[in-house]
């Protein structure tokens, strides 16, 4: 079985469900970079955030597509991401922020075995 590049915790999944219900929509994620609230996975209504034509789809978490920019993928592809949810205050437009929560990406290096069996990625 191939190795998933991004997965989510049960706690994150339950918040995804809560946000789906509250906003009555399907959701997606985009990994941010840069200053301030950078390095955070951000959750938007499908169609609100315009996915870049070259953005890389890392996989799906709890039914939500997860993307990052190709430039970020370049140096993040060696680490597996687990999307979790924690208490906190963010200043992004991500939908969980008003709940006093934040999605975070926990990284770990792949094992050699996992790295050989990574899920394929479509890149233009």
């Amino acid at each position: 079985m191939s190795t998933k590049r991004v997965e989510s915790t049960e706690a994150a999944n339950s918040i995804i469900d809560q946000l789906r219900k509250e906003h009555e929509c399907e959701l997606m994620f985009h990994q941010s970079g840069g200053c301030c609230d950078g390095s955070a996975p951000m959750c938007f209504e499908v169609g609100d955030f315009m996915i870049g034509s070259r953005d890389v789809k890392m996989g799906e978490i709890h039914g939500c597509e997860f993307f990052m920019s190709p430039e970020q993928f370049e140096y993040m592809q060696g680490t597996h991401l687990t999307i979790d949810i924690v208490k906190g205050r963010g200043s992004s437009f991500s939908l969980e922020i008003p709940l006093g929560l934040r999605f975070i990406a926990i990284s770990r290096l792949y094992t050699d075995e996992e790295y050989k069996n990574l899920e394929p990625i479509e890149i233009d």
Partner: protein, 498 residues
Amino acid sequence: MAYTKPEFKAQYENFIGGEWIAPVDGKYFEASSPIDGKVMTKVAQSNKKDIALAVEAGYKGFETWGKTSVTERSRVLNAIADKLEENLEKLALAETWDNGKAIRETINADLPLTIDHFRYFASVIRAESGTVSDLDANTVSQEVHEPLGVVGQIIPWNFPILMAAWKLAPAIAAGNCVVLKPAEQTPISILIMMEVIADVLPAGVINIVNGFGPEAGKPLALHPDLKKIGFTGETTTGKLIMQYASENIIPVTLELGGKSPNVFMESIMDKDDAFFDKAIEGLVLFAFNQGEVCTCPSRALIQESIYEPFMARVLERIKAIKRGNPLDTECMMGAQASNDQYEKILHYIDIGTAEGAELLIGGNKEEVAEYPDGCFIQPTIFKGNNKMRIFQEEIFGPVLSVATFKDIDEAIEIANDTIYGLGAGVWTRDVHEMQKLTRSIEAGRVWANCYHAYPSHASFGGYKKSGIGRETHMMMLNNYRHTKNILTSYDENALGFF
């Protein structure tokens, strides 16, 4: 000496149309200090309705402010600066408690730079002109400036008052009115600034609305009457802001961070003199503002011939950094701005270790006796290579990644191997190296034999993914106004076409 914790009101409203207005839906969120981890007050949790009120109040203010003479606008900006100066200590203390940074910095950097920024824009608008060209004997072309109207600004939490000033001063100097949304992590100090300047500011010129990104930031960026949006923050929200701006076809200014290289050539160690001492400090400046600076010199590139002796001196200097209570005027490093930021930085330290980077110093949280629940982190240095994530991602904390290079060409190659291009530092005694490095590094601001200076009248902004537009210079006035061309013919005769 150590200051005592400042007093805050139990609750803060929005500042709209010159008055303190409760949020329409009556909701508030808690604001806490990263110094003691405790709730300090409550702040308006605004939404679309409050944004609509603020934009409307902005246009009411604009009816007058947009037509106010530059003489009068300049007077108002100077009056704001004077008020801030009279209240410097009070504002510095509020800023320190809201953000966590050391009082030494807010007193000596954040507030003085803020004050100067208003004075700078008060000055330059008095001394500039449009242009007039004689296109032929009877045709005159005039280029005149006109303000845009009401503009939106969404600012970050790392220098809440100063970043507000960077955007507010040019916008209002150019004759616009502003709706500004502070960051959720630091919503308070700007409101205290507004309390201080409210009586010298015409109603509606500056409107402050607090709230969360998806609830208040998004409707601000999407408001159909907004004429421009300025944002400082991270890349995903930056893209969203551009996307929203495309809906109304309005201009954007974006500042989205960096991973700034700080290059040290071997000639810095030719002598053990004052300049070498300055270069050591130049590296240690990664710890300035706890690393929460978009231009943090977070990648030190050191010529390999001097790596060992230079790093030995650097580590000595880092050990001498006074940490602890941010309210103590001796303290050089305060708390990270939020618990989230604190957790994120510690996670990056784990990533660096996992990637095999060599930890040279720090690498842990900092225990501060007075504030056991505060968000303090030790200044940390990793040695590694530029392909590691800690070299490519903006950690926004006191974590430095160090790599060595053989020669100047390799230094340039590593310096430019990043998706960002905001700041860079170059340290050398050789003028030829200086010219080559400063011109070859792709960044909007290159500090040559200095770092972390932010004077007015030196432009600031990014290359590459670091953003669009410039700040801190009079050229920014044109980011906040139209150019109107008036083309006049003094010829009495018809064209003869029809």
